[in-house]
């Protein structure tokens, strides 16, 4: 009995277990600082993409203020650590709470609208947030940016040892443990009753409402959870990079995260992660070249939207379904 339960657990979570093992062993094979940096960026954008997927992929609300929340999380963490000298862990928690609190007011206002109006409305919020960060020089240093944000505070360990975050490997493990935590929480939410109500709202809002789902509350719930993780990824970014400028909250960041989700496949657990990882790697590798990276991005987006609508995961599902049908014949 115990045995079957265990094997059941294994088979249901196979993808996650493989992912965790691969993630845990990578630092033993990769020693280059540059590649480690790319991997850490993959992890940070992975969290951001996974959080956007919750509101957009599972709840069907095109929230175009995500970059703003990433920026709010990053700036809150940075400012709390620099100006108030708060410990990183406390600052991260407080930054996520600040992001959620701001998200609550924005969400309440924005969810009065629907569809395209909602998309444009949230994008306006994104611009407003960026402009405020740019101009509130007393707090955010404006366009000069926020310099010298310290790395995470070491975790004290019994026997006089501590885990410090000066090496790339330590930062890598930090970011990836948060990524895995995010994925597990989001997966748990999506598979719960709350997640079902998200899907119901995505499918047909009027129908969901007639079934007794409070759609405003459901959307707000999904929005706030997604905003929380956006703030988390922003906080990790702030302390890893150590420098913030207002561009980090720009709507281009929103678009970038959106592209990760779309290329990987919205509404799937793996899609946004695949999208974030592959595009971060591609764009970091293309950085040095005199090549119009965004032009290539643009063509890629259009081609994907026209020909491969479900993104990479959609293509994988299609392929799997085809193989399954062939096997049955």
């Amino acid at each position: 009995m115990r045995q079957t339960k265990f094997s059941n657990f294994i088979s249901r979570n196979l993808a996650y277990i493989i992912f965790i093992i691969v993630v845990a062993t990578i630092p033993f094979f990769v020693s280059s600082r540059f590649y480690m940096h790319i991997l850490i960026m993959c992890g940070i954008w992975g969290i951001a993409a996974a959080s956007m997927n919750l509101i957009m992929g599972y709840t069907g609300q095109v929230n175009l203020a995500h970059g703003a929340f990433f920026g709010i999380g990053a700036y809150s963490t940075g400012l709390l650590m620099l100006k108030l000298g708060i410990n990183f862990w406390l600052a991260l928690i407080m930054a996520c709470s600040i992001t959620v609190a701001i998200g609550f007011f924005i969400g309440l206002l924005a969810f009065r609208t629907k569809g395209s109006y909602y998309a444009i409305g949230t994008m306006c919020f994104n611009v407003i947030v960026t402009v405020i960060i740019e101009n509130w020089e007393g707090l955010t240093e404006g366009v000069r940016g926020l310099l010298g944000i310290p790395r995470p505070t070491p975790i004290p360990f019994p026997f006089g040892k501590e885990i410090n975050f000066t090496t790339m490997t330590a930062n890598y493990y930090l970011v990836f443990s948060f990524l895995i935590l995010t994925l597990l929480i989001i997966r748990r939410i999506v598979n719960s009753m709350i997640g079902r109500s998200f899907l119901a709202v995505r499918g047909n809002e009027e129908l969901a409402e007639s079934l007794g789902i409070n759609t405003l509350f459901t959307k707000l719930q999904s929005f706030l959870i997604s905003v929380f993780f956006a703030g988390l990824s922003g906080g990790l970014y702030a302390s890893y990079i150590g420098f913030l400028s207002p561009e980090i909250s720009d709507y281009h960041v929103t678009f970038e995260i959106l592209i990760y989700c779309l290329i990987g496949g919205l509404g799937t657990m793996a899609g946004p992660i695949i999208g974030a990882f592959s595009l971060t790697v591609i764009s970091e590798l293309l950085h040095g070249m005199a090549f119009p990276r965004l032009v290539a991005y643009g063509f890629l987006l259009i081609i994907i939207v026209i020909f491969l609508r479900g993104g990479i995961m959609g293509g994988v599902h299609l392929l799997a379904a085809n193989l399954f049908l062939k096997a049955r014949k």
């Binding site: 009065r112 569809g115 395209s116 994008m123 678009f255």
Partner: protein
């Protein structure tokens, strides 16, 4: 006596400043209206959130600039040629990018539009460089009226806009092609049943929309500067305007454009220019919070 005189003098100067700001607002509003008109046709009638409208506006500005400086064309001729070229590009964009997405949700078109922005803006950045281009002075004559300074270019902008709005209205109300556009706007299936080719309507709407955007860009570029990112703020504001005025509503786009132009110039003149986006988007957020479908939109 002296006190009242001083007081009056100050009052006059303030009045002049106020009128100057209002005139500036009307000028900005004209440009916004022209851009928003094209967008409201594309978005409101065809349901294509053509976010690339701003990129096409930028392309229009560059083309006018190149034609006027490199080829030595007259300003008006350059504007006309650029308009025709941009109308053609608009038709091409519709045919190649938006037509395959005709049956999909608007979100897909939105994403394709972001792709188009990347191509146009980054393309311009690579071809022309990131620096700001200054138009050679045209129509820089200034008039002094009651202590106000009005440049000829500003008068031209306002006049051309009013003319174009009247022409557009005549085109839509008086011609058969215009009638097909209005019919599609009112009832898509009904229009199809009446034998109206929706594809042709799409083509005409895109040609009109991008043509108008190109003229708007050509009109404003002697005052502002020409640079690859110039479409970004304008398209955001155009979206704000069409949502403010109600999707697909032509009077909504015009009135919304002028409201936004006035809000921007007055808040810039009396409060701060740094926060000008906050004020204009603040207006939108307030309107949406009170009336979620805009001022002129259907309930």
């Amino acid at each position: 006596m002296l006190y009242t005189k001083n007081f009056n003098g100050k009052d006059d100067a303030e009045m002049a400043l106020f009128i100057q700001q209002v005139l500036n607002g009307i000028m900005l509003g004209s440009i916004y209206s022209l851009v928003a008109l094209g967008l409201t046709l594309e978005y409101g009638i065809l349901h294509i959130p053509n976010f690339a409208h701003g990129a096409l506006y930028m392309a229009g500005a560059y083309l006018t600039f190149l034609l006027a400086t490199q080829m030595g064309f007259n300003y008006w001729l350059a504007m006309m040629l650029a308009m025709i070229a941009l109308a053609a590009i608009g038709v091409l964009v519709e045919r190649l990018v938006y037509r395959p997405l005709i049956k999909e949700s608007p979100l897909n078109s939105f994403i394709a539009a972001i792709g188009l922005i990347f191509i146009f803006v980054d393309g311009a950045l690579h071809i022309f460089g990131p620096d700001f281009k200054r138009f050679p002075p045209v129509h820089y004559e200034a008039f002094q009226v009651m202590g106000l300074t009005i440049t000829l270019q500003r008068i031209i902008i306002i006049t051309v806009t009013i003319l174009l709005i009247i022409l557009l209205q005549l085109f839509i109300k008086k011609t058969t092609i215009g009638a097909t556009i209005e019919a599609t706007a009112q009832d898509r299936e009904g229009a199809l049943l009446m034998g109206i080719s929706v594809n042709r309507v799409r083509m005409i709407v895109f040609a009109l929309g991008t043509g108008l955007a190109s003229i708007a860009a050509a009109l404003i570029s002697p005052i502002h500067l020409v640079y690859p990112g110039m479409g970004g703020p304008v398209i955001l504001k155009a979206f704000v305007i069409i949502i403010l005025g109600g999707m697909g509503s032509i009077p909504g786009a015009i009135i919304g454009g002028f409201i936004l132009g006035l809000v921007e110039s007055l808040s810039g003149g009396y409060i701060s220019t740094a926060y000008n986006e906050v004020f204009s988007f603040g207006v939108l957020v307030t309107v949406l919070a009170i009336r979620p479908t805009g001022l002129f939109g259907a309930k």
